[in-house]
Structure formats: C-alpha cells, structure tokens
C-alpha cells in the first residue's frame, strides 16, 4: 500500500518538511518591526499568569491590573480557575502568579508555610458576604431581616427542590460559604441548595424581585447588582472571627478586607509587574464602576482601559 504512492510521495513530503523547518528557524521579521517601535520602553518585564475567578468584580480588578501591566511591557496570560485550593496548587506549580482578590481569610496558610504563596496585603476592596431577601419581602414582613424570625417564614421559601423546608440558595462551590454551619448553628428549618454561579444567584434574585416571589440567597458586596435590584440583608448574630475554630460553628459572615496573593517567583523577580501587584489598591466604588461597564456590554478590556484613562495618575503610581 505504501508502494502505490511511490517514492515521489515520501520525497515530496520530506522536502516540504525540511523546507518548513529551515523557514521556521529564521528570524521573525514581524518582531523587528515591533521592537523598533518599543525601544523607548524602560525596564524589561517578564511574562506572568493571573488567575481569573468567576465573579464580575474580580474580572474588573484583574483586567485593570492586566492592562496596566501590559502597558508597562509585561506579558500577561489570564487563566480561569476555581478559587482557593486549585489556584494555590497552580501557584505552587508555577502556572499562576497572581490572585488579585481572595476572600478566604487565611485558607492559604498551608501554601504560605511551604513558601509557594506570598500574602501581599489588601487590595483596598472590602468584601461583605451575607444572606439576602428581595426588598419587597423586608417591606411586607419587616421582622424577616432578623435571623431569629426566619423559621417563622420558612414555609414561604419551600420549593420542589427543598425537601419540604425553606430553600437557602447558597453561593457557588468555589466561593467562601458557611451556609450549612449557619443553618445548623441557628437551628434553621432550611435546605441548602448550591447555585453554581454568580449569574444563577442574580437570576434567582431578579426573578424574585420582578415576580414578587420569596427567595433567600447568598450575595455580597462589592457587586454592582445591588445598585440595580434592591435586596435586604438578613442579620445573624454577630460573630467573633479572631478565633476561627470558635467561629466556625457560628453565624454570620464578617466584613473583611480582600487580599492579594502572589507566587514566590513573582515576588523574587522584582520587576514592574511585582510593583504593580504590591501597589495595586482601589475602592469598592472603583470596582463597581468597571463592573457596571462590563455588565453594560463593554468588553472587560474596554472597561478597564476606560477606567485607566480616567485615573491615569493612580495607575501610573502602581508601576513606580
């Protein structure tokens, strides 16, 4: 069967392959053109990966950092991954260099101890997770925002999925969630239902607000959605998080500064990107503004560039 194609076949293919190999090894002309335009750029910057987590606020922060870094001559790859363990492992493996917003209060300690991950400090955003009901419920049942009264209204929240108890829409698996502990510690008559995504939570609340149906679900700020659909936070007994072991059996989410993490490799490199990550800091309003633009239909890149153009001095300050 090989013979039927003859030696000509093999020869032709071999010649072509050899030719290709030779061609591919020559210098790339496009780079000469590119490098001449950029010779003014000051300091060399390496190539890094930034973890992309799946909420729009994170996208806003990460995209702004990416654009500032690209302008400073760094090569940035964005890698979508679940939060926490998976990402810290990737940082240890050297495939991820930055987490720009981590909510998880110290869960990275193991990796820090091994020297794989470095805690860089807070990014200026303050996160507050909580359990929310649509605003119309708070008007109709004013005492529902006190967790002690939730059982009284549990019947309202029953669905086909919730096994005769109230449905408690929990955050996606990758998020920081303590719903099961809250239900247990407060003796609530609710079943936890995992939603799977930020968008699914938004769907739940959008529907509940529009159709005036009851819903109890996980939400958080900074999140631009809170400006669009009114939700009321349900207050649980306050919680002392200084002792995590003690707190783990209790009750409500604390408000917490959001943390930047970096790989050891990036911290050691000490190049422009290292400085950008160390210096990056902005407010919840900044993030919500960019997030609103993204939700309004801009690409993350456009939205980030718009913010940078309006805050050029701040962005320049991060690189120094």
């Amino acid at each position: 069967m090989v013979r039927k194609q003859g030696k000509g076949f093999k020869f032709a293919v071999l010649t072509a392959v050899a030719g290709l190999a030779l061609t591919a090894c020559g210098g790339a002309g496009v780079d000469d053109a590119a490098s001449t335009t950029e010779t003014g750029a000051a300091e060399a910057c390496g190539s890094y990966s930034i973890a992309m987590h799946a909420w729009v606020g994170y996208t806003a922060s990460a995209q702004v950092v990416t654009e500032v870094a690209k302008a400073a001559g760094c090569t940035i790859e964005q890698v979508t991954l679940e939060e926490a363990g998976v990402t810290y492992d990737a940082m240890e493996a050297g495939t991820i260099d930055v987490v720009i917003e981590d909510w998880g209060g110290g869960r990275w300690q193991d990796w820090v101890d091994r020297g794989a991950v470095v805690e860089v400090g807070d990014n200026g955003n303050v996160g507050l997770i909580g359990m929310y009901v649509p605003a119309w419920m708070a008007e109709e049942y004013p005492d529902i925002t006190d967790s002690a009264n939730l059982n009284k209204y549990a019947d309202l929240f029953v669905t086909d999925e919730s096994k005769g108890k109230g449905a408690w829409y929990e955050g996606p698996p990758g998020y920081t969630t303590i719903g099961e502990k809250m239900v247990e510690a407060n003796g609530l008559n609710f079943t936890i239902i995992s939603t799977g995504s930020e968008q699914a939570l938004i769907d739940v609340f959008t529907k509940a607000a529009a159709d005036k149906t009851p819903a109890l679900g996980y939400f958080y700020e900074p999140q631009n959605f809170l400006a669009k659909v009114a939700l009321a936070r349900v207050n649980f007994p306050a919680n002392d998080w200084t002792d995590t072991a003690e707190a783990s059996g209790l009750t409500d989410y604390p408000s917490s500064p959001l943390i930047k993490l970096a790989s050891k490799k990036l911290m050691d490199a000490n190049d422009p990107f290292t400085r950008i990550i160390k210096n990056f800091k902005w407010t919840n309003d900044d993030q919500n503004g960019v997030a609103a633009d993204i939700e309004g239909g801009m690409t993350p890149e456009e939205a980030a560039k718009k913010w940078i153009a309006a805050n050029q001095a701040t962005a320049d300050g991060w690189v120094k």
Binding site: F9, A16, V30, G85, V86, D89, E92, A93, K181
Partner: protein, 657 residues
C-alpha cells in the same frame, strides 16, 4: 422459528416482573415505616474519620511535592517532560516564543501547513475543508485558543499513540497481555472524567502536564483496544504462512500483521484524536490552555452566547480532525493502484503545495497580516448575540412547558425515587438493590453489587451517593424512553437514519459543558438541569446502539411476522424489540455510564450529590479528602451499574433450556 423458546422466556419474564414488583412494594412500604432513620446523612462541611484520613494523606502528598523521593525521581520528571513537550508544540503554533511576539509559525503559515498535511495524507477536497474550518475558528475570534486546543490534542494524541500502539500490538499478539490489560481498559472506559482530575492534579500539579495526562487516560484505552483488535483481526492464514516460511516474530509483525491491520489502526488514531479533543475542554478545570477556558468561563458567568461561540470552534476542530483522519482511512482502503500519470500528477501537486506551505510559513514570520490573525474578521459577536436571543426566546416562550416539565419530573419521579433510595435505612436500600441485581444479572452480579454498596457505606458518603444514583436513574429512564423511540425509527427507516446521523455526531463531539450553559438558563439551579444535560449527552449513543440492533434483526423473522398478519405495532413490540433485547441492554448500560459522567458535572449547577462534593473538594482545602472519596464513590457506582448490565447481557445471550 422458536415459538416454544419465546414462550418459556416470556413466562420467565412475567415471573421476574412480578418478583420485581414485589421487591419494590416491600421496599416502599418498609421505607415509609422507617423513613429518615439510619440514612447516614452527612452534612456537607462534615468529615468522617475516613475522609479526614484521606485528606491528611492528600495534605502530606502536597507537602512532599518538592522534596519527596517519589516526586523528585518519578512524578516531577514526567511532569517536566510533558510540560516541555506541550510547550514546544504550543510555541510552534499558538503562543509567542520567548523574545518574540508570535509563535514559531503565524496563523497564515499554520493554515497553509494544515492544508498541505491534509492533502498529503488524504485528498484535495478534505484539505480545502480543513483549511476553511481552521480559518473559521479564527473568524470566531478564537484563533489562539483554538490553536492551544489543537496543540494540546496533538500532544496528547502523540503520547497516547506512542504508548497505546505498542501495548496494543502486545495485546494483539499475546493472550496473556490481553487478559492483563482488558480489566484496566474496561475501568478506564467507565471512569467519569470529573473523577480523576483532582487526584492527577495532586500528583502532577495544575497545568498543561496534568491536563495532558488526564486526556491520555481517556484516549490511550481506545488506541490500545483498536490496535489489538486490528492485529487480532488478521486472518490466521497469512500469519501461519509467514511463520512456516521461517519468519521471525518481528518479521511476521512488521511484514504481515501490521500492514494488514493498518486500516484498523488508522481508525484507532481517528478515535483517539476525537476522544482527546472532547476531553481537552473538561481538562481546562485543571489548567489546560485552549477552548475549554472560554467554555468554562461562559458556564460560570452563564454567558450563553460566548459558550456557543467557543462550542462552535470545538465542533469545527472536531469536524476538521475527524474528516482528515477518516479520509486517510478511506485512502488506505483503495486497492486500485494509481496509473503512472496519476502518480506523476500527484507528485507535482505535492511539491507545489509543499512549496506554497513553505512560502506561507516564511510570510507568516515576516509580514504582520500573515502573523497576527486579522482582528477585522470576527463574527463572534453576531453569533453570540443570535445564540443568546434564541435561548432567551425559547426560555420565555416555552416557560409554561419547561416549568410543567420540571415540576412533573421533579415532583412526580425524582423526589419519590430519591426518598426511596436515600431516606430508607441504608441496609434496606442495600438489600433491595442487591435483590434487583440478583434478578437482573444473577448471583455473581448480586455479589458484586453487595461488595460495591458496602464499600460505599464504608466510605461514609452513602447518602450523597444515593442522591446521585436517583438522578442517574431518572435521567437514564428518560433517555431510554426518548432514545429507544428514536432508535426504533432510525432502525426501521433509512431516511430517518440519514436525517438523524449528523445531529447525533455533532451531539457526541460537543462537550457537555457547552450545553450545560443554556440548560442552566432554561431550568435554573436545580437537579433537573443536571438530568436534562445527562439526557442530551447520552441519547446519541443509545440511538446508535438501538438503531443498529433493530437493523440487525434477521429479515426472515420480520417477513414471517408480516406474512402472519402482524400490524406494525405488533411487529415492533413482539418481534423487533425482543430480538434486539441485547442491544437494548447494552444501550441501557452505555446510557447509564454516559448519564453518570454528566450528572456529576451537574454539581456545578446545584444538583448536589457526589459531583458537588468533588467540586467542593477541589477548592476547599478542609474538604479535599471528602472530595477525593466522593470521586471514588462515583467510580464504584459506575462499576456497579456496568457490571449489573454486563451480567444481564451475558445471561440473556446464554442458551436457555
């Protein structure tokens, strides 16, 4: 032909039916009495001693990854080698090389090269198709993601073949080897993909290496199986003749067995490529670069349009690779030797296309337009928009239907079944399932079932396993109802087959994640979303098997029935379906395995159960052990289902008295 045989077997069936009903009634009654007792329910954040133990092991493996001997001398070198290999291919076609702004070959060169390669291994028509489809991936705005996926696929397929073909040859020539590899291959085939991602990442870390190895776990068995099958398919005559003429074993292999088996082996390459491609998307969960990234991203922020666009690119690549390798197979089959004139013409064409490819590669390194895929050519937005509005329209227009359907399936079937399985005392459920297994598959089947169920009980995740089992059973039931109906139609009509075939093929290459996205939009975060996705994923395989089974019913049997005055309905229910019973059992088995693989992915969209625990385990360090154990429980569930069906098939095919 065998009225009497059919008669006894019918009576036997009826008797079994009564026993089955009896078991269900007893199970149901007892479960009502003991409802909620001894259910072994374990709250999500809770660990058992065993899951804690597994978690500690995982933690110590983590801590050992830089200094441990096993890592230093075994895992890390493998990882570095594969990482290097993948990087090499990626730097050739998809990511910029160090110090450059483009890969070794720019987009124009890559397309020209694909055209040349496909022309060389297949023909001009296929080459044009391949070029068009590759260009289309770029036109979707996903050039570098598509090339990353192609690079990952090439790497995984190459390594799979390097391992798979020699092992396949060995298993083809030695019965001992075949007996050795068969159970491993069987296991690999029923292993739901979500299950082995976490353990692999534990040893090979998150990144391209883990993703490549995970893909290989999925694709190597296919390469081994088809190679062994090809070698074994070679008739005894040529082999014996070769040996009698004094050939050594090596000579017999290279001069006789391999050339004759070449067609099957090339088919194996085709199947390996398709398997690898369909896996690279899921592998994005452990850091595989490529099209999986936009797909997973779209799933997480539920961006239907973006998910579809990326899904299209996957399908384009799939068609491109499938047609190219299939055309190569067909070419292996042409036995008419080309005339000298044809040969000469082809030689000239090869030189011409080869030369054009060289020039294109050169251009793609020198000129900007050939180096960077033109940004003006980007149809992603209109396509995303169209997909988005289509799904929105369907959601709002048919909401009365979808809501009714969800209600019916959830309240009418799923909730009672879930209560029966998970809310009964565990020993009652174990006994009932074992009895059913005895009834369906016989004594040995019951033993396997018992062992598996006790292992699950021992793992501490009994309750969650039953939640997953309930969803799997409901999804399979609905799959069978739909799939068998379409299968009968397809099996009885050539026209239906031609109509359905392309849809089914597309369904099989489209990664489940892609349609999980609109499903989440249709049905919201609920168990039904997982069930619906499982149904869509597994229908093609059921239709294929049932259709084939119906077609294989002997014509004489059908003619006899028709001449004795059977109506079409009688023909289907009394002749074709009973005669195709083995196909039905096989279809059920495959349906169950396919559904299980996808239902666990439903953990992403609120379906709970074992899949949710696997996903949680990968992001919550304190639940890592529990996640790993949950993966193991999924595997056990798969084994139990598979064995039960296999025993049933064997029993059905055995001669009766």
């Amino acid at each position: 032909m065998s009225d009497e045989v059919l008669g006894t077997s019918n009576r036997r069936e009826i008797k079994r039916g009564w026993i089955f009903a009896g078991i269900l009634v007893a199970w149901f009654g007892l479960s009502k009495i003991f409802s909620g007792k001894y259910t072994y329910e374990l709250a999500v954040p809770q660990n058992t001693t065993f899951t804690n133990f597994v978690g500690e092991i995982a933690k110590s493996i983590r801590g050992n990854r830089t200094d441990g001997a096993a890592f230093k001398y075994f895992f890390n070198p493998i990882r570095q080698f594969i990482d290097g290999f993948v990087t090499l291919i990626r730097e050739t076609i998809s990511v910029p090389t160090t110090g450059s702004s483009i890969p070794l070959i720019g987009w124009f060169g890559v397309i020209a090269l694909i055209g040349f390669i496909v022309f060389a291994i297949a023909n001009a028509r296929t080459a044009i198709l391949a070029v068009t489809l590759t260009f289309a991936c770029g036109a979707l705005g996903l050039w570098s993601h598509s090339m990353d996926t192609l690079a990952m696929t090439i790497a995984a397929v190459f390594l799979s073949l390097v391992i798979g073909i020699p092992v396949g040859i060995w298993a083809g020539r030695s019965d001992f080897a075949l007996r050795l590899v068969t159970p491993i291959l069987d296991l690999a085939q029923i292993l739901p993909t979500l299950v082995y991602l976490a353990p692999l990442a534990l040893f090979f870390l998150i990144g391209p290496a883990s993703a490549t190895i995970a893909t290989m776990v999925y694709s190597i068995p296919i390469a081994i199986r088809l190679t062994a099958f090809g070698i074994r398919g070679v008739a005894k005559g040529p082999v014996e003749a070769s040996i009698s003429m004094g050939s050594t074993g090596g000579q017999t292999l290279t001069k006789v067995q391999l050339p004759i088996a070449k067609k099957t082996i090339v088919l194996g390459v085709n199947q390996t490529v398709m398997a690898a491609l369909s896996f690279v998307v899921i592998a994005a969960l452990i850091g595989a670069p490529g099209l999986g990234k936009p797909v997973i991203e779209a799933l997480i922020i539920r961006n239907v349009g973006e998910g579809f666009v990326a899904g299209f690119a996957v399908v384009f690549l799939a068609i491109m690779l499938d047609r190219s390798t299939t055309a190569a197979v067909v070419k292996q089959n042409t036995f008419v030797p080309p005339s000298p004139a044809q040969q000469k013409r082809r030689k000239i064409a090869l030189f011409a296309t080869g030369g054009a490819a060289i020039v294109s590669v050169f251009l793609s390194r020198q000129l900007a337009w050939a180096a960077y895929f033109p940004e003006q050519i980007n149809f992603s937005e209109p396509i995303a928009h169209a997909a988005d509005s289509a799904v929105k329209w369907v959601t709002s227009t048919f909401s009365f239907f979808t809501e009714g359907l969800i209600k019916f399936v959830t309240v009418g079937i799923l909730n009672p079944l879930e209560a029966l399985l998970s809310n009964s005392p565990w020993f009652l459920t174990v006994a009932a399932i074992a009895l059913i297994s005895l009834l369906v598959g016989g004594f040995r089947s019951a033993i396997v079932t018992l062992v598996v169920l006790f292992l699950i009980v021992g793992s501490g995740l009994w309750f969650d396993t039953m939640i997953t089992l309930a969803q799997t059973l409901v999804a399979t039931l609905l799959t069978m109802v739909i799939g068998v109906s379409i299968g009968i139609w397809v099996g009885r009509s050539q026209r239906a087959e031609r109509f359905i075939r392309p849809i089914m093929d597309a369904g099989q290459v489209l990664p489940a994640f892609v349609y999980l996205i609109p499903m989440l939009g249709f049905f919201g975060p609920a168990r039904f979303t997982a069930i619906a996705t499982g149904i869509v994923y597994s229908i093609p395989v059921v239709v294929k098997i049932v259709g084939q089974g119906i077609r294989d019913v002997p014509v004489t049997m059908i003619e006899a029935a028709v001449s004795s005055g059977s109506t079409t309905r009688q023909l289907i229910t009394k002749v074709q379906l009973p005669a195709a019973k083995n196909s039905l059992l096989l279809a059920t088995n495959q349906g169950l395995i396919f559904v299980l693989a996808v239902v666990v992915i439903g953990g992403f969209v609120g379906a709970g159960g074992l899949g949710y625990l696997v996903i949680l385990g990968s992001s919550k360090p304190d639940l890592q052990g529990k996640g790993l154990v949950a993966g193991f429980a999924i595997l056990l569930l798969g084994i139990m289902i598979d064995r039960m069906a296999q025993f049933a098939v064997r029993r059905n095919s055995a001669p009766r008295h």
